[in-house]
């Protein structure tokens, strides 16, 4: 076989270099098939096996009946995460998993600040509004508002 012949791998595997083309091709196929099979096994093994996973279950008992919810009044959302503790948790209880399905749209507001042709591609609506008393404060860009 000439140097640069694509079946040099087969030669390295220990078979004589003077095989016919068909036998060489068969050996190459077996070698490559074997490599692929090994890779497949390794992939399957890694999918089914997660050495860094820790199985567990969060406790459901109440640890603290009156947790510190920061200095934001109950009905207000004074910061991005509601209060300076950033808990994103509202203590209000009127809306529950049982009645949330009965919510209806109260109003809809469109700011009008929409993406323009010369804006950068990543122009997005990501605003979390603040609520202070009876006023909502939000910043744009924004393409729609869903209460």
């Amino acid at each position: 076989m000439a140097a640069g012949d694509p079946y040099w791998l087969v030669s390295v595997a220990g078979h004589p270099a003077a095989d016919t083309g068909v036998e060489t091709a068969a050996r190459a196929a077996i070698t490559f098939g074997g490599v692929w099979a090994l890779c497949g096994l390794a992939l399957l093994g890694s999918l089914l096996n997660s050495p860094h996973t820790i199985e567990g279950r969060l406790g459901e008992q109440v640890v603290n009946e009156q947790p510190d919810l920061g200095e934001s009044p109950e009905a207000d959302w004074l910061a991005w995460g509601r209060s300076n503790l950033g808990q994103r948790y509202s203590p209000l209880g009127q809306i529950t998993p049982d009645n949330v399905g009965q919510l209806e749209e109260a109003w809809r507001y469109q700011t009008g600040d929409t993406k323009q042709p010369d804006d950068t591609g990543e122009t997005t609506y990501e605003a979390t509004p603040l609520k202070v008393g009876n006023t909502l404060y939000l910043c744009t860009p924004i393409t729609g508002w869903w209460p």
Binding site: G70, E71, S72, P73, D76, L78, A79, W80, N84, A106, W107, R108, Y109, T111, D113, T114, K115, Q116, D118, D119, T120, E122, T123, T124, Y125, E126, A127, T128, P129, L130, K131, V132, G133, N134, T135, L136, Y137, L138, C139, T140, P141, W145, P147
Partner: protein, 128 residues
């Protein structure tokens, strides 16, 4: 031109606009993000319960002259400014930085437009 970074004050019950402040930020394709994740609120000295009623301002809030503020709203802009506004009227707060505007590029070594700006609300560790 359609500038971005508006701060909108709405009636929470009806969705009606109370005032809108337009920060006049033009488009810039060099920015990776064109967004605003929220504003920040500093309650008045006497506590948020004593905050005055938010007014209905019929004209652009940015046209108003700067005022003395008790409570503050802080708006980050995509052109690297931080604006302080009066939550009651949307007017700039004269006591904050340069008549309500803080230039976040001040003393920055690289001032290429679009390379630094803020999209997220400020956080106050004390003062509540």
């Amino acid at each position: 031109m359609h500038p971005h970074n508006w701060l909108v004050a709405l009636n929470a019950d009806t969705g009606q606009e109370r005032w809108v402040y337009k920060a006049g930020v033009g488009p810039n394709s060099q920015r990776q993000h064109q967004t605003c994740r929220g504003v920040s609120y500093l309650p008045p000295e006497g506590g948020v319960e004593g905050a005055p009623e938010v007014q209905n301002i019929g004209r652009p809030a940015e046209d108003q002259p700067p005022v003395s503020c008790d409570a503050h709203l802080y708006l980050p802009t995509a052109d690297a400014r931080l604006l302080a506004l009066d939550p009651e009227t949307g007017a700039r707060c004269e006591g904050f930085a340069q008549q309500g505007e803080l230039d976040l590029m001040h003393n920055m070594p690289y001032t290429q437009s679009g390379f630094y700006y803020s999209t997220s609300p400020r956080w106050w560790p004390t003062g509540w």
